[in-house]
Subunit: 271 residues, 2 copies
DNA sequence: GTTTAGGATTGAATCTTAGCGAATATTGCG
DNA sequence: CGCAATATTCGCTAAGATTCAATCCTAAAC
């Protein structure tokens, strides 16, 4: 049997039963453990499976782990969690909000699961799945073309949907922010969506950890002044923060206890 | 059992009941307390849970959780898998297909992950997430309002999207089929979507396990003649099958080996 | 058409490591 | 103080990594 054929079979088996033991595969494919291990290593390289002592687990099935295993792993990040926590206080019951596709915002979405009377519009399938289990949150999805690298929906259908709604708050995930150049992102399609969301919202809240500052990326989205509130972590250079405050933005530094809870409480009362 | 598998089970239990005692886990997973503790330590490291004396508490939110999608997937697995396998053979490279939201079709979607040159349109966020990782499958999502009980998108946005596309094949998940009454489903909104998908497709393929036969539900979708190919499992009453064949449908019984592979091969060559 | 060198793939042999359980010391909690 | 859960250590087993020789396929040279 050809190696490719064998690996295909392993995939098949994994799709059907989610996990296999190495010995089981030896048995079934009539090759030695060494070969199986080589195959598993190759398939792990391709991202098809995750190896574990004695066998492997499929990565391609979400029945495998919780809905978003990868997202869980990525959310290890303490900064993201703090930013999400700070952002949560801006979301009030009864609001209609938009959640962009980003890992930090996904973290926020998880925190919103037990809210009541909340309307969430999003272009992130991952967020839709996460909020699927929430009884109190009404969810709408923009639809559109799935971008494989950023896991967001964009294009014709997404634009059409966004052109006909109004939002209380737009939560934006910023991937590059430079006080002078403005906000930018990797793709035109994404930039387009962000602009439309911003236009539809009364208040624009951007989430950006310290790694996003001073960067410029391919597609220009808009000047920093388009943002009303920016939430970041304490690792951000104070110069950036001051510059943004001078530009009129309300900047929240998540994690630096006093300021955060204080400012956000004021805001909560205003609304 | 693989270590990863065991840890997955712990996650499952935690999602279901929010807390577990270590001894409970020992009991259920048939391993010693030492192993359980190691697992809990690992999962705590990953941020999945918080340990406390005698057990652990989930970090995932607690209140108002709907049953997880996984739980649904677990029911009647084998039949669904066989149906999905039979259906897979009708999906050819280069096709543009629609996948409705249903657990059986989700099973099919999982099998399509490795395909190349396939265009999938769907109203199921779960399927979008599943195909997110697939390099060879282009995915589009209709968007719309998320229905919490059926995990599908429907409504204005979904309809608009569907009104302007053409499909090679529509894969439909049927929740009630009666040879005389026709196809029906639980909600008007879903029925509407199914009708629009049918209209847009050149070929309509319906997936229905034996439990769906002879049932009638709230919203009428259309007569059985609207379907071109019906795939079911071997548990279905032959009377139903004959009646449908008389009505002009091509009926595939998944699992009954000969018929299945034979018929589908013929079909594959035709296309 | 045959031959032979090169590369790839597999299997066998060896050594290394990871995971589990058992025993013992330690820590919390009542 | 006593009980039960936890941490720690150690040894055993089985799985994994590594290396090397054998085989097979390919392709170029004769």
């Amino acid at each position: 049997m050809l190696a490719e054929e064998r690996r295909f079979q392993i995939r098949e088996i994994l799709t059907a039963q989610r996990t296999v033991s190495a010995s089981e595969l030896c048995d079934q494919l009539k090759v030695t453990a060494a070969t199986i291990r080589r195959d598993l290593a190759a398939l792990e390289q391709e991202g098809v499976l995750v190896r574990s002592h004695g066998g492997a687990v499929s990565r391609m099935s979400s029945t495998n782990f919780q809905p978003t295993y990868d997202a869980l792993l990525r959310s290890e990040n303490e900064e993201k969690r703090q930013i999400a926590r700070a952002a949560e206080q801006f979301v009030l019951d009864g609001d209609t909000i938009f959640l962009e596709s980003s890992t930090t915002i996904f973290e926020l979405a998880r925190r919103l699961v037990h809210r009541h009377r909340l309307m969430v519009v999003t272009n992130s399938p991952t967020i839709v799945c996460e909020l699927q289990r929430s009884a109190g949150v009404t969810v709408m999805c923009t639809g559109g073309d799935l971008m494989k690298d950023t896991f967001c929906l964009s294009g014709e259908w997404a634009q059409r949907a966004l052109s006909e709604i109004r939002l209380d708050k737009a939560i934006l995930g910023v991937s590059a922010i430079d006080p002078k150049y403005g906000i930018s992102t990797a793709h035109h399609a994404e930039a387009q969506i962000t602009r439309m969301v911003s236009r539809a919202a009364k208040t624009r809240i951007a989430l950006a950890d310290h790694t996003k500052f001073g960067r410029q990326r391919f597609a220009f989205v808009g000047p920093v002044k388009d943002i009303d509130i920016l939430i970041t972590d304490s690792g951000t250079d104070p110069d950036y923060i001051n510059e943004l405050r001078d530009a009129g933005l309300q900047v929240i530094v998540a994690g630096s206890a006093g300021v955060k809870s204080n400012e956000s409480r004021i805001f909560t009362q205003q609304s």
